[in-house]
């Protein structure tokens, strides 16, 4: 009698379990995409940090840029794409990730073709980065990993602030190609704040990425200068802005911040390294 009841029960159990699995299969599949394509530098980083390697179908060519890509060593032999629609379709992705502020034509086109496209917004602060990481974790089915990355960031930041609390605050201005500076309401500005710097561009009322006259920069008399010179880019008039000899003179008498671009250009955990480097120079 006992054997008969067990078998019956087990059969039903197995049946129930199978039906349950079958029913929940689409949910599982929806939660964890298997062929993700990233078509921008910053989504490349997030993908390489948060997702499992088997989930990644392709990252953009920017992922191999020495100056811009933090996760360059993690790329390995992953296929690269040039962000063109034809290439992306080739991978038959179940999820395409891109930035909101770039490639919107491509994103729109892909949506029209029926592909699932998720775009990350521009981060204006470190808090934005946390919510961005969470969102990305959700899209790619790696929520737990996202939470642990956030937790680590928070503890690192606290530790950095404590370590360098004794040092005085310093003023800083950024100067990039075409004479652009970085003002209030930007991620970099928040990084400066966390690293113990006052961004003079923000103090002047500049918001976002705006050009600044070289004279104004000099007159502002910052303690520290951050000049985006280390670009693997070839000659252009834009890069000539940051090559102006007066900046060399200025650097002679000031501190010069040279935080690698790859640490501060994308939203992600690498910004803590950037903040550490900045705080060190105070």
């Amino acid at each position: 009698m006992r054997v008969k009841i067990n078998k019956d029960f087990m059969k039903r159990f197995y049946l129930f379990f199978t039906v349950l699995m079958l029913l929940s299969a689409p949910l599982v599949a929806a939660e964890k995409p298997r062929r993700i394509v990233s078509i921008g530098l910053c989504t490349d980083q997030l993908l390489l940090i948060l997702a499992e390697r088997e989930q990644i179908a392709s990252v953009s060519v920017w992922a191999l840029d020495e100056n811009m890509s933090y996760m360059i060593d993690a790329v390995g032999d992953l296929p690269l794409n040039n962000s063109s629609v034809e290439e992306i379709i080739k991978y038959q992705p179940d999820l395409v990730v891109a930035s909101e502020y770039a490639a919107w034509d491509t994103a729109k086109f892909l949506r029209q073709l029926g592909y699932k496209v998720k775009q990350i917004p521009l981060a204006h602060s470190i808090a934005d980065i946390y919510s961005l990481l969470r969102q990305f974790g959700e899209w790619t089915g790696n929520q737990q990993r996202a939470e642990s990355v956030i937790a680590q960031m928070q503890s690192e930041l606290t530790e950095i602030q404590q370590r360098y609390a004794g040092r005085p605050e310093k003023t800083v201005i950024v100067y990039s190609p075409n004479g652009f500076t970085i003002g209030a309401n930007t991620l970099e500005n928040d990084l400066f704040a966390h690293a113990g710097y006052i961004n003079l561009a923000a103090s002047m009322g500049i918001e976002g990425f705006k050009p600044i006259a070289l004279e104004t920069l000099i007159a502002a008399d910052p303690d520290v200068l951050q000049i985006d010179r280390n670009l693997s880019r070839p000659d252009s008039l834009a890069t000539a802005y940051v090559g102006h000899p007066v900046l060399d003179k200025l650097i002679e008498h000031r501190e010069y911040l040279d935080i690698p671009t790859r640490l501060r250009i994308c939203a992600g955990p690498m910004i803590t390294e950037a903040i550490e480097k900045m705080a060190q120079r105070r």
Partner: protein, 334 residues
């Protein structure tokens, strides 16, 4: 309206102080208000302060560059008008400036400029030389004013298209949007380095042009008479063309194509030098320096963030002037 000619002493006694005054005014113009006096004192005492940096590293190079380029364009315009017997000739209109810009663009954006200081202005010179050669080929022996203008239109169109093409294929992602600089010209954000690069070629070019002053005077009597007065017409024509292409090539290679200065300035100065081509050369040089400096001051006062290109102002003034000249010489055109 009869403008009386002035003796050289009188003319330069007026022009040179004006140049100096305008230069001082230009040094006082900029996005930041500084005390000029303090800036100069600091520089003399070898102190690096905000004032001295702004004055000597930003404003002075810019103003000097504007002066030298203005002088070059004025001089080249006077030379071309004398050589081609054409009141509408100037480096921009006949396509020399665009040729120079093309040469400079190819050298700059394709990584050649860094090897030696002279490669950039040399690129401008070669580009200008090719443009002039094509012009002279197209125009031939014709003395017609129209044919020169038409040839210039052709060269300008082709040159502009080639510049766009070269920028399109350039490595730098900024290249394409920088076409505005090359076609309209600007001295903003240029440093003393640009001045040093361009100066040697400009000075040599000026020397060659001024050397041909007497020749231009003799040429007013006709080519044969000039020959009989001891001038090797072919050789001196070449010297003049080389002088124009060297100086304009260098100027354009660091500041882009600033148009119409070479057209307007000689016309303004001609009555004051009694129409003598030789005297016109130097007078146009000085007047050109003043004019471009004034234009640069205007650019800085009119646009809050220095985005307006110098060529916009010179075109706004020069293009109507050009039209007026065409209308005035309608009866002279065949």
């Amino acid at each position: 309206m009869n403008i009386k000619a002035l003796e050289p002493r009188v003319l330069y006694a007026i022009l040179l102080p004006v140049l100096l005054l305008v230069c001082l005014f230009a040094l006082n113009v900029g996005p930041v208000e500084i005390d000029l006096g303090k800036g100069m004192r600091d520089w003399f005492n070898e102190l690096t302060t905000i004032e001295s940096l702004i004055l000597f590293d930003i404003r002075l190079p810019r103003s000097l560059l504007a002066m030298f380029i203005g002088a070059t364009l004025g001089l080249a315009g006077a030379a071309l008008q004398g050589l081609l017997h054409n009141p509408l000739a100037e480096p921009g209109i006949i396509g020399v400036s665009n040729g120079a810009a093309l040469g400079a663009v190819i050298v700059f954006y394709y990584g050649m400029a860094g090897f030696a200081w002279f490669l950039l202005p040399l690129g401008g010179l070669i580009g200008a030389l090719i443009a002039v050669s094509i012009i002279l080929l197209l125009v031939g022996q014709s003395r017609s004013i129209i044919s020169l203008i038409l040839a210039g239109i052709a060269i300008n169109s082709v040159g502009g298209a080639l510049i766009a093409l070269a920028l399109n294929f350039a490595q730098s992602p900024y290249a394409m949007q920088e076409i505005v600089f090359w076609l309209l010209g600007s001295v903003a954000n240029r440093s003393i380095n640009e001045l040093f690069i361009a100066l040697p070629f400009m000075l040599v070019g000026w020397g060659m042009i001024l050397y041909c002053g007497r020749f231009l005077n003799a040429l007013t009597l006709g080519e044969e008479t000039a020959k009989s007065m001891g001038f090797d017409v072919t050789r001196l024509r070449l010297v003049l063309v080389l002088g124009v292409t060297a100086s304009v090539g260098a100027a354009v290679s660091v500041a882009g194509n600033i148009g119409f200065v070479g057209l307007v300035v000689p016309h303004l100065m001609r009555p004051f030098v009694a129409y003598e081509p030789r005297r016109l050369l130097l007078a146009s040089g000085v007047a050109g320096a003043i004019l471009l400096l004034v234009a640069d001051i205007a650019v800085q006062l009119l646009s809050s963030n220095g985005e307006m290109k110098l060529g916009v102002i010179t075109s706004l003034v020069g293009a109507p002037f050009f039209l007026f000249l065409i209308l005035k010489s309608r009866n002279v055109l065949q």
